[in-house]
């Protein structure tokens, strides 16, 4: 009733194949983008920018990358943190070593470094799959951890391995205030999301999905597994690498190798699973969930405790956070294994048929 596509007739293939074929969807997304670009900067406080919005935007981009590999191509990866690290340090090296290199080319070059790294560590996927591959990609993680800690060349020979960037600007505009950081990341996110969406609905995306659904059958109908798998690794690690560079440059400013530990990989995988595998929307929802949940728990638990009249120490809170986080993930997997994106789809379907049950 609220949401119906009756009467929307398409008269050309082009109209039929646009990203949002339904008028309501188009308007909704347009409004959402407008809200994100105009409404949010007017309303949000500094704290919201630095604690929620900027991490969410960057993590959504990384989750998008992971989703291409895990959700669309079906190759489980636990090395996403490493791809982020390679992107961040690659971009940093180009940024620091090449004089007068603008920020955006540095980010793209960082992404390309991650691509090379990703394809290299994607090679085992040609031989192994499933859980074996998941563990194999951990090799990338530990190798990157070690590489940026021990090989001093990557960190410009700083003793602690901690590096920092300053004076970031794009087309002459400084990126210093929270609003400008947010808008910059958001713009990149929109570009990347559009790119990813168009990739996954094109020929190459279909190849990835065929490989995901059954690789032997895909090979039989003429899809080259090597090309499809490695291209998924390349595209995914490029996006993750860009997100890593953004995370380091924009969000942290100064960072050390431990910022991209194996926990980051797990978090990214959680985002994809909770958001919904094989859906661009899912990446956004999952990132929002994982970014907001710890902050929410951090605020909410002491509040509940104060209602009950007990004071909680910070260690108790942090342990309780771990427990609730873990329990929520398990609960989520039990209740909705297909993730938030599926809930979204169910909601849309309900709106479409309302007031009838089906």
């Amino acid at each position: 009733m609220f949401y119906r596509e009756n009467g929307q007739f398409k008269t050309s293939y082009q109209a039929d194949q646009q990203i949002f074929p339904i008028v309501q969807d188009r308007w909704f997304v347009l409004l959402l983008v407008l809200l994100a670009f105009v409404g949010v900067p007017m309303m949000a406080t500094d704290y919201m920018f630095s604690a929620i919005l900027i991490p969410f935007v960057i993590m959504a981009m990384a989750a998008l990358g992971v989703n291409i590999l895990v959700g669309y191509c079906g190759q489980i990866s636990l090395g996403s943190g490493a791809f982020m690290a390679v992107g961040a340090y690659g971009a940093y090296n180009f940024f620091a070593r090449v004089p007068d290199l603008p920020l955006i080319p540095a980010l793209i070059l960082g992404g390309l470094c991650a691509t090379v790294f990703g394809v290299l560590f994607g090679l085992p996927s040609l031989r192994v799959r499933g859980l074996y591959l998941a563990v194999a990609t951990l090799a990338a993680q530990f190798f990157a951890d070690w590489m940026f800690l021990r090989i001093k060349w990557f960190t410009l020979d700083t003793p602690s391995g901690s590096v920092s960037v300053s004076n970031l600007q794009v087309f002459g505009l400084p990126i210093e205030s929270d609003v400008s950081k947010y808008l910059f990341c958001l713009t990149l996110l929109c570009v990347v999301a559009l790119l990813a969406k168009n990739l996954v609905r094109g020929a190459i995306g279909r190849e990835w999905m065929a490989i995901r659904d059954m690789d032997v059958a895909a090979a039989v109908i003429g899809i080259r597994p090597m090309y499809a798998k490695l291209s998924a690794f390349a595209v995914s690690s490029f996006i993750i690498g860009m997100a890593g560079a953004l995370w380091a440059f924009i969000y942290m400013g100064s960072w050390e190798p431990s910022a991209f530990s194996v926990n980051e990989s797990f978090r990214l995988l959680f985002m994809v699973i909770i958001g919904g595998m094989g859906s661009i929307m899912g990446g956004f929802l999952g990132a929002a969930f994982i970014v907001v949940l710890p902050i929410f728990l951090n605020q909410f638990l002491p509040f509940v405790a104060s209602l009950l009249g007990v004071a909680l120490s910070t260690t108790v809170v942090s342990h309780a956070e771990l427990m609730i986080f873990g329990a929520l993930i398990v609960w989520f997997l039990i209740v909705e294994p297909h993730g938030l994106a599926r809930l979204w789809a169910i909601g849309k379907q309900k709106m479409r048929v309302w007031p009838f049950p089906y």
Binding site: V70, I76, L123, P124, R127, V128, G130, L131, Y132, A134, V135, A136, L138, A139, F142, F143, D145, W146, L149, R150, I151, M214, V216, A217, V220, V262, F266, L269, F270, I273, M277, T315, V316, H319, A320, E321, L322, M323, I324, F325, G326, A327, L328, I329, V330, L333, I334, P337
Partner: protein, 308 residues
């Protein structure tokens, strides 16, 4: 030569310890097809439980250290059984028939939960487990080589305990009717169920066994390194072992552990100085990775057959 053998022996013994953790992975994967990432958290949880129980028992006035350790071990084992039962009841039973990735994620959730729970109940400081292992190293083969070989007694005992555990487990799997049921479930869930093997009970049992293995591993690792949060990361060190040995093979876990242990130590000693040291952690993974390129199912894993 003496130095090389010493490194080799140390590697073998470290490998035995990895095998202990890897064993937990293999047991659960075989019986329920779950890749149990929570094994590391279980090791931490068990070690914390045992350390604190023995501390409380000593405080309660139980004098004999052997008695304290035995009672604490038993109590910790009971706690692990409870954890196993709860995991089966609350998590696995709800997730029957889901994909491998979903189950993997669920065990990651369990990992977080157990880490939080263990530290809330038992505290998050560094604790000691003292099972009376001799700390001082001994010299061996002094007549054979000049200078002999320095052997860490603690490692030697740990390796012995691991060997005994493995022997006991293989007896349990081969000779008892429960063991036979476990093997049947591992072979084929549906076939096992159709001849009347209760799947749920088997899963509880296998998680209990994995809990005990985690307890033994936690005890040994804990007495070596102290019981602290970093114990949970032992699982990450043991993963390449499982991959190398094959996810479904108990002997694979042992031999994989030995290979990884030796490889790590030798690479650290002979290769480490050239590349800046600290390569232990990724070398194991790269070793396992190279191995996978040749044999995708690991050393002793079941052959992967592609069917369309």
């Amino acid at each position: 030569m003496g130095f090389f053998l010493e490194t080799l022996l140390n590697g073998l013994m470290a490998g035995m310890l990895y095998s202990l953790v890897a064993l937990g992975f293999v047991l659960i994967f075989k019986a329920s097809g779950v890749f149990n990432f929570a094994q590391g958290a279980m090791v931490l949880f068990a070690a914390l439980a045992m350390a604190r129980f023995s501390e409380w028992l000593s405080a309660a006035g139980v004098g004999n250290p052997w008695l304290v350790n035995v009672i604490a071990f038993a109590m910790a084992a009971v706690v692990m059984f409870a954890v196993a039962w709860l995991i089966e009841r609350l998590v696995l039973r709800q997730l029957v028939n889901q994909e491998g990735t979903t189950l993997l994620m669920a065990t990651l959730g369990i990992t977080y939960f157990l880490e939080g729970l263990g530290q809330s109940i038992f505290g998050s400081d560094i604790y000691k487990i003292d099972i009376g292992m001799p700390k001082e190293p001994v010299m061996a083969f002094e007549s054979v080589f000049e200078g002999g070989i320095l052997i860490n007694q603690e490692d030697l005992i740990a390796a012995l305990i691991a060997a005994v555990l493995v022997a006991a487990l293989s007896l349990f799997f081969q000779k008892t009717s429960t063991g036979r049921a476990l093997r049947a479930v591992a072979d084929d869930h549906q076939a096992a169920q159709s001849i009347g093997i209760p799947l749920n009970r088997i899963w509880v049992i296998v998680w209990c066994v994995a809990g005990v293995v985690a307890l033994v591993a936690g005890m040994i690792w804990g007495s070596k390194l102290g019981v602290q949060f970093s114990l949970a990361t032992v699982a990450l060190r043991a993963l390449p072992v499982v991959i190398l040995g094959g996810l479904t093979s108990v002997p694979g876990a042992i031999i994989g552990g030995l290979i990884i242990g030796v490889g790590e130590k030798l690479s650290e000693v002979y290769l480490g100085p050239y590349v800046g040291g600290g390569i232990e952690i990724w070398f194991a993974y790269v070793l396992a990775l190279l191995f996978l390129l040749v044999r995708p199912q690991g050393l002793f894993g079941e052959k992967i057959i592609d069917r369309v």
